[in-house]
Amino acid sequence: MNISTRQRDGVTILDLQGKMTLGSGETALRSGLQDALAGGATKIVINLKGVTTIDSTGVGELVGTYTTVTNRGAKLKLAVLPPKLQDILTITQLITVFDVYETEDEAVRSF
């Protein structure tokens, strides 16, 4: 998995690309998030448009991200979920936990 970080209207955007699976660099999200928080980010959007596959480890990384951000008093939104990722979050009932938006624009405006 690849991750890149950018700023947009005071919001930190983390763009994820590729597989969020065990053995595919699944910890990249954790380190990208730590860097963002260390840089003072308080409004964070994870753009998941480029994610092709997510296993239970990848879902665990998203959950870990949510708890880390929340514990720091920051806010996290998910944007542009591919249909299969949306299915996974629905099946695992995590769709009720995350703040999910269809587009990045909506996620950024929601803060």
């Binding site: 065990l22 053995g23 596959t53 665990g60 959950v63 099946i91």
Partner: protein
């Protein structure tokens, strides 16, 4: 119909090898006529089984192997994943949908398998270890289409 073997793969207990299983598995599933959605969900379930075998079964011991076998019988697809670990008791696994577990970062692998396959069974491997058997019914060709001329037949029977 007896079991028809499609592939047997032995891998070392390293997470990178999950990708190797995925490549072979997806090719076999495509040859069997599964559509992209079905291939994706079977792939995810098998990933979880192999990951569990490496992580919890063999505890990433490089001297221990994980075997993956795919076959077809009259009920559909059968995938078996074997490890050489200490055995496993599925009753010990907590429900990841319970409110107290929802925000735990781990513990969803077995739930994934049960969600995406028609049947998941656990057994003991001869000589030690666990065998996970995953089953998925295969689509019957043409089952989703209306039989040709069915309306005319209905009218004739009146």
């Amino acid at each position: 119909m007896p079991l028809e073997h499609r592939f047997h793969l032995g891998i070392g207990s390293r997470f990178e090898n999950i990708e190797l299983v995925q490549v072979v598995l997806r090719d076999a599933l495509e040859r069997l006529g599964l559509d992209e959605d079905a291939r994706h969900w079977v792939d995810i379930a098998v990933r979880e089984a192999v990951a569990n075998a490496i992580k919890h079964g063999n505890r990433q011991d490089p001297d221990k192997r994980v075997a993956v076998e795919l076959g077809v019988d009259e009920d559909g697809l059968i995938i078996q994943v074997e490890d050489e670990g200490e055995g496993f008791e599925p009753g010990e696994v907590s429900n990841p949908l319970a409110p107290e577990n929802l925000l735990k970062p781990s513990g969803r692998g077995i739930f994934y398998m049960q969600s995406f396959m028609d049947e998941v069974r656990y057994g003991a491997r001869p000589g030690g270890g666990t065998v996970v058997t995953l089953r998925k019914r295969l689509p019957v060709p043409g089952a989703d289409r209306e039989p040709a001329g069915s309306e005319e037949q209905g009218e004739k029977s009146e």
